[in-house]
Subunit: 405 residues, 2 copies
């Protein structure tokens, strides 16, 4: 890719971001009960009114981030959407659990009644992301919102590092504790979120946790550095069976750019190299479908067929993570082979996922690249991976094009 | 289909059943720890050692049934497999829950340690099926095993009809109780299992429950008889959103032949007609893929895209249920149009699912009919739907061919 094509690429990404922001502003906000509809059909029609807390939190975070850091999105309607979503979350997301600790619901009715609580930490994670980013918008409300996120964060750390019983899952004799990639990744993302621009004291407070996350993430490098495995034992060895052999290339790529950011910020060059080699280049090598293009959703490191029915489908979000990871890796190293792969992922992504007719992106393709599920939002697809990817890529491209070699 | 082709069809089905029984006898039994391996690759290789209680129970049931009712399977190795599986289940399946009630685990380690407990009734259902059928094999052990299944059955009825809190799911303010088709279907299947050939006293004991199940199943006929919906409210009205609009054609077809049996046994002709019209013909009409053939896994009654990633895939078990349902409906009515549809389902099924090379059936195809997951057994595919279908069809065909018009 030349500078000229990088310019074109930025132009396209900018247009896509505008389009996606417009789509969600137009269809998603619930002005009656607050919060967001996220089950949105291909043409913008709401086909279900349930409110998924992961997606509510992510959407608040994304609006705040756009409002706060990009001039063209510093608009009243973005601020309004962010605050309406934030108020809904603050009012309804938290439920007290049987242990007396606060949990966040996974799913709420349109008017905010809890419908489902997961026995994991992820609803809480996205709640914290939303509350922290929201606390950065306005000075007068800063303190309480920041407090909300910090209190929930304390509890999260307790569940992950001390005692998970408050999550509500009974301990069973056959269970062994596992290190699932999603947990240290999410916590690392939160550490970056909570400390960004907050000064030395906050950075110091979360420093140890950040280091712990890195250590836990690196445990997923297995088989003499030739594979990233999604689940490992807590002492970093391979687990038996399907669970132990599972690979999720999109997830590894996402961990890759989290680690790259950490390496760049902390000045740890070894981590930075490991991030690119093991978490960016490697998952692309084993995760890319040489026949039809695109990234597989799940793989088994020994080549068995995964038991996940959707293993061979091409989902939008691993492609979003791959775009960020390769563009960031290129911008940090200027190695042309990284830009080449970015270009390949870019071609596949933009020729398959965006819907030229009704806007936004399809999320779920067959292995062959046909649209398999045609909605724009669903229980797990909201206003997050697509705009975050476009936002990150636009910023990296701005940086690259301002600092041409 | 003529008598000649029905003869050929029976011949094929008989061969297929022999093949499938051989496959599982060869690869599945764990002679070290007892129970069955069910994660079996396309060529018979065990790719995971976890033992799923649904599948353990179903496999015990199937072996007992074959041993007890089909001469050619009245063999020591079938009896051995059934009893080894039954002993494993009896020893390890039950775990005491926090409420002090007995639950069955969903998943066990190879040596029988509980790994996961679902907050539903299905592990218990398949445990009961296995224990009841096992109690029919040998006279001397009859009493205790029959007792096991009856005790668990009492608890199941309590969870379903009185208080579900023992299942371990906290009640949340947004939840409304729902009538999910799977629950009355499973209970009805258990009523038929527990009462079969047990005499008047047992029949009387479960009569009311059987009637309740029928009533609950019939509530799923919605939209003026034009649709079977998977989830309805407890008073039989349509629920909002995706959950309320969900259709699972294979499930409706399975309910269809359960209801047909009930109608035939009780002499209730109206139920029998409803079973065929609403639960057999109708799900085929909306569930059959006119473009590529085969039954969709999930549909939305209003034509929205389902949110289940696998909605358009062709799974083996709905086709098994369709074969039983249409052949039974034909044998009960002798209407040629029912045999025509049986023939269509038969053609699709036998040209897509059986693996001529390594035996047994593939379970998961793409919408277009390509094998998407190539294993023969997995967490949800065991020795059950395929052999039950072949067993039922062989018996119906025996009956049809002995009583030619």
């Amino acid at each position: 890719m030349s500078v000229v094509t990088l310019e074109k690429c930025r132009e396209n990404i900018r247009k896509q971001l505008d389009n996606v922001v417009d789509f969600w502003l137009k269809y998603s906000l619930d002005r009656v009960h607050g919060g967001f509809f996220t089950c949105i059909g291909k043409d913008g029609k709401i086909y279900d009114e349930l409110k998924y807390v992961w997606l509510q939190g992510r959407q608040v975070w994304m609006y705040c981030r756009l409002y706060r850091t990009m001039d063209r999105f510093h608009k009243p309607e973005i601020l309004e959407a962010a605050t309406v979503g934030g108020a809904f979350l603050r009012k309804f997301a938290r439920v007290s659990s049987s242990s007396g600790q606060w949990k966040c619901a996974f799913c709420l009715t349109r008017d905010g009644k809890a419908l489902k609580v997961q026995r994991t930490i992820f609803s809480e994670c996205f709640y914290i992301m939303a509350m922290d980013e929201l606390s950065r918008l306005t000075v007068e409300e800063n303190f309480p919102k920041q407090l909300f996120s910090e209190q929930m964060m304390e509890q999260l750390i307790y569940w992950v590092q001390v005692d998970p019983s408050g999550l509500g899952r009974p301990q069973l004799p056959g269970e062994v504790p596992i290190n699932s990639l999603s947990v240290p990744m999410m916590l690392m993302c939160l550490v970056q979120q909570l400390t960004e621009g907050r000064g030395q004291e906050v950075a110091q407070k979360y420093k140890e946790l950040g280091n712990w996350c890195v250590e836990q993430i690196l445990q997923h490098i297995q088989r003499a550095g030739t594979a990233i495995l999604e689940n490992v034992s807590v002492d970093g060895s391979e687990l038996p069976g399907c669970q132990g052999r599972l690979q999720n290339p999109g997830h590894a790529l996402e961990a890759g750019w989290f680690l790259m950011l950490y390496g760049a910020q902390s000045g740890d060059k070894e981590i930075h190299r490991t991030a690119i080699r093991n978490f960016v280049e490697l998952p692309y090598q084993y995760g890319w479908d040489k026949e039809h293009g695109g990234l597989f959703y799940f793989l088994d490191v020994d080549g068995h067929c995964p038991t996940q029915l959707e293993w061979s489908m091409k989902l939008w979000w691993p492609h979003c993570e791959a775009l960020i990871a390769f563009l960031m890796a290129y911008s940090h190293t200027r190695k042309p082979e990284l830009l080449e792969i970015f270009s390949e992922v870019y071609q596949y992504t933009f020729s398959h996922f965006p819907d030229a007719e009704n806007g936004e992106w399809f999320g779920y393709l067959t292995q062959e690249g046909k649209v398999a599920l045609d909605f724009k939002g669903g229980p797990f697809k909201g206003f997050f991976h697509v705009p975050r990817c476009l936002y990150m890529c636009e910023r990296i491209l701005d940086d690259l094009l301002e600092n041409k070699d």
